[in-house]
């Protein structure tokens, strides 16, 4: 079934570039989205089943894959609206690159070996580069250049980490061994190797995950990419980065360096919170601020994983809910740019009068992303803090709380400024097409899911998360 999926994907991309017809490209992309949903349904039905020797459907991969399939439809829908004005060539490049990106990401989710995962992650960088460069502006060029360069440099570092993995067993095709077989040999390795391997992997994949050391380029990429693409980047692509680090973390969790890993993750998480809070206070551009909020949430995920115990559940739940909340906010950016014409915060204003449905999305989205209780993110924040209190890490708890308060202050002032205050100079920009409120339906659905999970977590979600934590120490 997976092979069928890959082949049809390649076929579709080729068709798009051959036929060069706008409606056909639309149908192909919708067909691809449906096929993707079928794939995730298939993966749900037979979990832990290995296909094509390098891909197993283990629970974390399947969970993140289903998030991608859920987000595929709205991304395409908003993509159609966004690229309505572009010429045919750009339109086709956009959709071709989008399909390749989604295929590579699905491959990364299901990979069962580090090198296979590494190859797909490298491939996603190339696919994303095309999408970021969609607007063909000077800033887009610079952002793409930086993104590709830093990502490949980071991934090269990650590859060194993987090679260190290989040194541990001395066998030639070590890197290609599946995770399960690797975990058996883990404890006779020299801990210094494991530490350096984990460090390299963490720094390498932090470019993808948007965690502290190499988060800088993802923020540039978000501020330049078209909103539906940045919705995908800031959610599913970051999940790929998280998955890579998470795989290595589970791999090494049974060895003696578990405390080292936890402390490094908390250290990186706190630093990303610090940087995010600092930049949020100075944010002048709306999409960059959302990118910093992703940095902050990924910092929380890192702290949650580093906390252990109830923190693991919190991390996975945070990843799932963050994907929904952040993507709905980025879809809303598409409409906001059409209504207000700019992302510079000083020129945005009285959004409530111009587009009430959108401002309602902004208000609910603000509370969901800031983990203020009706949002499910509060549950994961609660579990994270529960872990912190159980481990007695008071310093981490207090700094996290203070930084979160600053982040809440910064984001709510800017969001409320956009919605309520009247801008300094009324923008002479008249909205091009009539922005129909029906476009916000997808965003309300996603935010509704986030709020619903705060009150009632369905059993299937709880089971799959617990399954994905089965390898980790209790």
């Amino acid at each position: 079934m997976l092979l069928l999926f890959f082949i049809t994907a390649v076929l579709m991309v080729v068709l798009i570039f051959l036929l060069r017809n706008r409606t056909i490209t639309k149908f192909i992309s919708i067909g691809y989205a449906i096929m993707h949903i079928l794939l995730s349904v298939y993966c749900w039905s037979n979990q832990n089943f290995t296909e094509l020797r390098y891909f197993t459907f283990n629970s974390t991969g399947v969970l993140l894959l289903s998030i991608l399939s859920v987000l595929a439809i709205p991304t395409l829908y908003h993509g159609f609206i966004y690229t309505r004005g572009n010429d045919l060539k750009k339109f086709n490049i956009y959709h071709g690159a989008l399909i390749t990106l989604m295929t590579f990401m699905s491959g990364a989710y299901l990979a069962n070996g580090m090198t296979v995962l590494w190859i797909f992650v490298e491939a996603t960088t190339l696919a994303v580069a095309l999408l970021i460069y969609h607007d063909r502006t000077e800033m887009a060029l610079e952002a793409t250049w930086k993104y590709v360069f830093i990502c490949s440099a980071g991934i090269a570092l990650a590859y060194l980490g993987i090679l260190f993995l290989g040194f541990i067993y001395g066998r030639e095709d070590a890197a290609s061994l599946t995770f399960s077989s690797l975990s058996v040999l883990i404890n006779q390795a020299n801990p210094m190797y494991l530490k350096i391997a984990f460090l390299f992997v963490l720094i390498g994949f932090s470019t993808k995950m948007g965690l502290f050391p190499m988060h800088t380029v993802t923020i540039d990429a978000h501020s330049v990419a078209p909103p539906p693409v940045s919705a995908l980047i800031s959610t599913t692509l970051m999940n790929v980065g998280f998955l890579a680090i998470y795989r290595v973390y589970t791999l090494f969790s049974s060895s003696s360096i578990l405390p080292f890993m936890n402390r490094v993750l908390i250290f990186a998480g706190l630093l990303s919170l610090l940087v995010a809070a600092g930049y949020m206070l100075k944010a002048k551009h709306l999409k960059r601020m959302l990118a910093y909020s992703s940095l902050e949430n990924m910092g929380l995920v890192a702290i949650a994983t580093g906390v252990g115990g109830s923190g693991y559940y919190a991390a996975i739940l945070l990843i799932v809910l963050h994907s929904f909340a952040k993507s709905s906010l980025f879809y809303q950016m598409g409409q906001l740019s059409r209504v207000l014409g700019t992302f510079r915060l000083d020129d945005c204003g009285n959004y409530m009068k111009l587009y009430p449905a959108g401002s309602l999305v902004l208000i609910t989205g603000l509370f969901c992303i800031l983990a203020i209780p009706p949002s499910g993110l509060f549950i994961s924040e609660f579990l994270m803090m529960k872990g912190l209190v159980n481990n007695g890490q008071w310093f981490v708890l207090i700094t996290a709380i203070i930084l979160l308060c600053f982040v809440i202050y910064a984001m709510s002032t800017r969001f409320m400024h956009i919605i309520f205050s009247n801008p300094r100079q009324y923008p002479e920009f008249t909205p091009s097409g009539k922005v129909r409120p029906v476009e916000t339906v997808t965003q309300f659905l996603l935010l509704g899911v986030v709020i619903a999970i705060c009150f009632y977590q369905p059993q299937f979600l709880v089971d799959i998360i617990n399954q994905s934590l089965s390898l980790l120490p209790r």
Partner: protein, 662 residues
């Protein structure tokens, strides 16, 4: 089955978005009334019968819908919530008419939706006992009140206050969160009952302080109060009425619930509460006296009344610590009754301040005056409210202060040296607060309603429409009812306290104390009869005499102007002079330079900014945000710096592992 009704009401609140703009008010009134009926049915059932009702819905999942447990204390707080929230919504119809044309229908639906959810979340706060759902509902209360406060968010100062309010509520919630987590860590389960288990095993003082700070921020005790005087003037009046009448009482509810499960070192807890409440009471009312903004005066006087409630609780705790049952019952009983009374007269005062604002469009007392002639109903209601808040006899404020006083006096003779010093201190504090309250509210009422109109706005004022006046008669009815027939209300309150705090049934509730309450009613009755007799005789007497009108006695000065009247600053001048160390009143006038031969126009403004806000909130926040801004210099745009960060991060981690910190 009754849980089903509650879920239906919760569902109905979402439909307010669909209802057309004109009928949003009626729809939300309908939903509110059904909620009030349902919950008051439950609370009456509990108050009349004994024991508690448990309403649970059998839905599972990690955070399944929690059980709603209603015991006597919850039933009491439900009645407090129901009455004021209902009157608030009825009042808001007239008040919001002025915004009808300016704001689009989504703003109104958000407003009514968050009003209903403020009501529901307050109900659930008092009904839920489990840790996590309690925190969720606690934050929903803060969130819905935030949305209500920023109703007219067009002007940025309202927006800024709203956001700083949200942040302080969120910080308060984090305190509660940490406290519950500590309990969860020790006892494995997070709820109010497991707090009792924790208290029996461990030292109570630290955990109590955490809870006290968390609930104290919401209640508005002195050092944590800084959001209150900002949020209330910014909010529309019916919201600030409901918020300061009812919402800050949730903090008091939380403190009472925790106190019920305290086992050891109750004395130090009682001393902490007493000291903090005395501080809040005195400094709260002292700040109220020097404020110019009418709603700020009322906000600071809420802090004072919270201080009085806290004093009652502190004395109750002192009584329980020393095993002095009369002090315990009277202390807690007085505090609970003052919660009810305060919700009545404070919401009454805020509603009338709202009527004044909706007519004169200003809150600055310096521009009001002589409104009594133009707005008779509003001013009579404001007068009743200020009489009640000063605790003057025929009204309900006096009853609760009387209970707290008699608790203190009764226990004086039977208490040791330190306890009697504390009680004497609180007697002095309470009497001082009484005097200061009279000073404050004579100033507020006199300057705003009496004398001549000081500005064109005040002279052009006319009475608000009837729909804003009639709902307040419910509250006035309760104020007078509690004032006169006080034993009707005091007996159930004592029952709540004795069952809640497990204090053995003293002879108190039936013989001597109730007789003193009836004594008060008799004396009050005599007073009213006397006044009536004198007034009737006066009417008859003056009918036969020559009654003429003339200008006020100006000591010969023939052209008095309204500006010469005593303004709010001059009224509080000598007090301000006396209380200089506590209230730093700043005089803002740009000095005249030496070489300025013909100085240009000067303006003088004196304001007293909140000392606590400056030192406790503004300074640390600016310090940390300045630090954060300096740290965030990483996004330099150069690729080599980005690679450098990775390199440096790796070196730091390797270094730390080498000297094995990590």
């Amino acid at each position: 089955m009754s849980a089903l009704f509650f879920l239906i009401i919760i569902f109905l609140t979402f439909l307010v978005f669909i209802v057309p703009k004109g009928y949003k008010h009626h729809y939300s009134l309908l939903v509110l009334i059904s909620g009030v009926l349902l919950t008051s049915f439950w609370s009456l059932q509990v108050l009349s019968g004994n024991g508690e009702i448990i309403i649970s819905t059998g839905v599972s999942g990690i955070t399944s819908i929690p059980e709603l447990i209603i015991d006597r204390l919850t039933a009491f707080f439900i009645t407090v919530i129901n009455i004021t929230v209902l009157v608030g919504l009825l009042y808001s119809r007239g008040y919001l008419k002025q915004y009808y044309t300016i704001k689009n229908s989504l703003r109104f639906s958000i407003h009514y939706f968050s009003y209903l959810w403020l009501y529901l979340s307050m109900l659930m706060v008092v009904m839920i006992r489990e840790g996590l759902p309690f925190l969720i509902v606690w934050e929903i209360m803060a969130l819905s009140s935030f949305l209500l406060v920023i109703f007219d968010a067009e002007d940025t100062s309202v927006m800024k206050t709203g956001i700083s309010y949200l942040i302080q509520m969120h910080a308060g919630m984090f305190f509660l969160l940490t406290a519950f987590l500590i309990v969860g860590k020790a006892t494995g389960e997070m709820s109010f009952d497991s707090v009792a288990v924790y208290f029996s095993g461990h030292s109570n003082i630290l955990l109590f302080i955490l809870f006290f700070i968390g609930f104290g921020i919401k209640a508005g005790f002195m050092p944590l109060h800084t959001w209150l005087p900002q949020a209330h003037p910014a909010a529309p009046s019916h919201i600030s009425g409901v918020m300061s009448g009812v919402m800050i009482k949730m903090g008091i509810y939380g403190i009472l619930r925790i106190l019920m499960s305290v086992h050891q070192d109750m004395i130090s807890i009682a001393v902490i509460i007493l000291v903090v409440s005395v501080l809040s009471g005195i400094i709260g009312i002292m700040m109220a006296i020097v404020q110019q903004d009418l709603k700020k005066i009322l906000a600071y006087s809420s802090i004072e009344n919270i201080g009085i409630i806290g004093m009652g609780i502190g004395l109750g705790a002192l009584g329980m610590a020393k095993g002095n049952n009369t002090l315990a019952v009277l202390g807690f009983g007085g505090a609970l009754l003052h919660v009810l009374n305060h919700s009545f007269f404070k919401s009454l005062l805020f509603f009338n301040a709202g009527s004044v604002y909706s007519v004169t469009h200003t809150r600055n007392t310096g521009q009001m005056g002589g409104l009594m002639k133009k707005m008779p109903y509003t001013s009579v209601l404001f007068l009743i409210g200020s009489l009640a808040i000063c605790g003057l006899p025929p009204f309900n404020g006096f009853i609760s202060e009387f209970i707290i006083y008699s608790g203190m006096f009764k226990s004086l003779s039977s208490s040791g040296i330190y306890q009697s010093i504390f009680i004497m201190g609180s007697i002095v504090a309470l009497s001082l607060i009484g005097g200061l309250a009279i000073f404050c509210f004579t100033r507020a009422f006199g300057i705003v309603f009496l004398g001549q109109a000081r500005s064109q706005r005040a002279s052009a004022a006319e009475e608000v429409e009837k729909s804003m006046i009639f709902p307040q008669f419910i509250t006035v009815g309760f104020i007078i009812l509690i004032g006169v027939a006080s034993s009707l209300f005091v007996r159930p309150v004592f029952k709540i306290v004795t069952t809640g705090f497990k204090i053995p049934e003293t002879g108190l509730s039936d013989t001597s104390f109730i007789s003193s309450l009836s004594g008060i009613s008799v004396a009050g009755g005599i007073f009213v009869v006397l006044v009536a007799i004198i007034l009737i005789y006066r009417k008859y007497h003056l009918s036969s005499k020559v009654v003429a009108n003339g200008p006020t006695w100006g000591c010969g000065y023939t052209a008095p102007s309204p500006q010469q009247q005593y303004t709010s600053t001059s009224y509080s001048y000598n007090f301000n002079h006396l209380a200089k160390p506590v209230l730093q009143t700043k005089k803002i006038m740009d000095e005249i330079g030496e070489n300025e031969i013909f100085p240009s126009g000067r303006s003088f403004r004196s304001e007293s900014e909140d000392v606590y806000k400056k030192y406790l909130i503004d300074k640390p926040v600016d310090l940390v945000s300045g630090l954060l801004k300096r740290i965030a210099v990483m996004q330099t745009g150069r690729i080599q710096d980005y690679i450098l960060y990775a390199f440096v991060f790796m070196l730091i981690v390797l270094l730390l592992t080498w000297i094995n910190i990590i």
